[in-house]
Amino acid sequence: MPRRHPEEAAFPLRARFPSRPRPPSRARPPRHSGLPFSGLLSRTRLPLYARIAWYGFRRHSAYRTAALAGAFTNTVFGILRAHVLIALWEARPGLAGYDVADAVTFCFLSQAFIGPMQLFGGGLQLAERVRGGDVAVDLARPASLQAWNLADDLGRAAYLLLLRSVPPTLVGAALFGIVFPTEPAAWVFFTVSFVLGVVVSFGWRYLVALSSFWIVDDRGTQSLSLVLMMFFSGMVLPLNLFPGWLGTLAQSLPWAAMVQIPADVYLGKRDALEAFALQALWAAALLVLGALATRAARRKVVVQGG
C-alpha cells in the first residue's frame, strides 16, 4: 500500500466518488509515521475537518526550530515591553483598573498570542494559492473552502500554542511573576475566549487572503491589515489605555477579540458572558462575510491554462 499524500488521505474514496460502491474493506498493515497516534488517527474515521485540523497541526510541526526561534523573539520583546509598562504603572498605580502584576501579565499574554492568533498576518496559504492558480484545485474539492481553511488554521493555532505561547509565558512568570487564576472556572472561561479569538483572527485573515482574488498583489492589503491588527488588538498598548472615544471604539472592534478580550477574561477584568457575546458576534459576522466573499470569488475566478 503506497503511502498517500496527507491531503488526499483526508478524503475517503466514498467522499470523492459518491456514486461508486465502496470497495470491500481489507485488513491493512499498520502504517508508521513520526508522530505518536498518527497511525491511529489516520485509520479511524475521524470527520473530514477534524482530520484537516490534525494535518494542519502536523504540517506546522515540521517547522519546530522556526517556531522556537519565534518563541525566543516573542520572549525578548515581552521583556522589553514589560519594562515600559512597569515604568508606566509605577508612575500611575492602578491605571485603567490594572495593577503592575496585571500589566505585566497582559504584556506576556499578548506576546503569547502572537503565534496562535497570527497577529502579524498571514498563516493561510490561500493568498499564495490564489496567485499561483492552485486555488482551482481547492475550489474543485467537495468541501467548503472556508471550512477547510478554518480547520487547517485551528490545527496551526494548536501547534503554535504549544511552541510559541508556553515559553514566553513561563519566562515572564520566572522573571517578573505573572498572575495565574486559581479558580478552574477562570481557566474554562479563558479557553473559550481564546478559541473564539482564534476564530475571529481566522475570519479576518481569511477575508484579507480572499482579497487576492481581486487585488493580485496582496502586499498592500497585508500591510494595512497588519497596522489594524497590531494597534486595535492591544498588541502595541492595552486598549484600556486608549483615550476617550478611541478607547470605546477600539474595545468594540473585531481586533479587540484577538488580544484584549481574552487577556481581560484571563485576568478576570471582564464579564465572561459579555466577552463571549462580543467575540461570537464578530466571529459570526466575519465568517458570514467570508462565506459571501467566497461565493463571489468562485464566480470571479479565472484559472489560466485550463
Binding site: T73, H83, A87, S223
Partner: protein
C-alpha cells in the same frame, strides 16, 4: 563597491516602479506601522508626565535619533537578515558566483521605495522633538555624530544577525530579537529597563551608544546609572569595534558556507 551598490539599488527600484500601486501602499503601510510606536508613546504620556524620569520631548528626541539611525540602516542594509531565505532557496549560491560582493547583493536585493516610509516618519518625529527642546547650541554637533554611529551599530547588528543565519538557517527569527529588538529598546530612555539590562547594552551589545550615552550629552543630563562621563563620547569607538566584529563574523560565515546540500 559603492558604485555596485547604487547600480543594483537603482535597478531594483526601477523594477518595483513597474507596480506603482502596491509600491505606494507599502510605503504608506510602513509609514503608518512605524507611526504606531509614536502613537504608543503619545498614549503613554497621556497618562503620565514623565517616564523613567524623562519628558515627552526628551523621549521623542531619543526615539527620533534612534529611529533615523535604524531606518537608514534598515533601508540600506536591513535586507541582509533575509539571508536564510536565500540559502534555503539556493539563490545565495547564485550571488556567490557573480562578480560582485555578496554582501552588497544581499543588501540591495528587492530594494524598494517602501524602505523610505520608516525613514520619513522618524525624521518627522526628530524634527518635532528638536523644535520643542531647548537645546544648548554648542552641544548639537553630537546629533549628526550619534546618527552616523547609530547607523554603523545597527548595520553591524543586522550583519551579525545575517551571519548568525549561516548557522541557524531554520531559525532566522532569532536575529529579529536583536535587530528589531534593538530598535524597540532604544525608543525609550534606558532608565525604564533597570540596571542589569543597561549594563548588557552598554558593554556587550553596545546599543546604549546609539542614542542613550550621546543623548545624555546633548540633553545635558546626569547619567542615572552613574557610569563614567567619557562614555558619552565613546560612540564612535563602540561602533568601530562592533563593525569589525560584524565584518569578521560575516566573512567567517561565507568561508564555512557549504550550500544547502540537497
Amino acid at each position: 563597491m559603492v558604485r555596485t551598490y547604487l547600480l543594483l539599488a537603482w535597478t531594483w527600484l526601477r523594477a518595483s516602479a513597474q507596480y506603482p500601486i502596491p509600491m505606494a501602499a507599502m510605503a504608506l503601510g510602513s509609514f503608518v506601522l512605524n507611526g504606531l510606536d509614536v502613537a504608543a508613546i503619545w498614549i503613554v504620556f497621556g497618562h503620565t508626565d514623565a517616564l523613567g524620569g524623562f519628558t515627552l520631548a526628551e523621549v521623542m528626541f531619543l526615539y527620533g535619533t534612534a529611529g533615523v539611525s535604524f531606518a537608514l540602516s534598515d533601508m540600506l542594509f536591513g535586507n541582509v537578515d533575509r539571508l536564510s531565505q536565500h540559502i534555503r532557496a539556493g539563490t545565495f549560491d547564485a550571488m556567490l558566483v557573480r562578480p560582485a560582493s555578496a554582501f552588497v547583493q544581499m543588501a540591495t536585493d528587492r530594494f524598494g521605495v517602501h524602505r523610505f516610509g520608516r525613514m520619513t516618519q522618524a525624521a518627522v518625529v526628530l524634527g518635532i522633538a528638536l523644535s520643542q527642546l531647548d537645546l544648548e547650541w554648542s552641544r548639537t554637533w553630537m546629533v549628526p555624530v550619534m546618527i552616523v554611529c547609530g547607523i554603523v551599530i545597527f548595520t553591524s547588528i543586522f550583519t551579525l544577525g545575517g551571519a548568525l543565519q549561516f548557522l541557524l538557517t531554520d531559525a532566522p527569527e532569532v536575529a529579529n530579537a536583536f535587530t528589531y529588538g534593538g530598535s524597540t529598546l532604544t525608543q525609550y530612555p534606558l532608565t525604564v529597563y533597570g540596571g542589569d539590562l543597561v549594563k548588557a547594552v552598554t558593554f556587550i551589545v553596545p546599543l546604549a551608544f546609539v542614542n542613550w550615552q550621546p543623548g545624555l550629552y546633548v540633553l545635558g543630563r546626569d547619567d542615572p546609572f552613574g557610569l563614567p562621563y567619557w562614555l558619552r563620547f565613546a560612540a564612535p569607538a563602540a561602533a568601530l569595534v562592533l563593525a569589525l566584529a560584524a565584518a569578521l563574523a560575516w566573512r567567517a560565515g561565507i568561508r564555512r558556507y557549504r550550500s544547502t546540500g540537497s
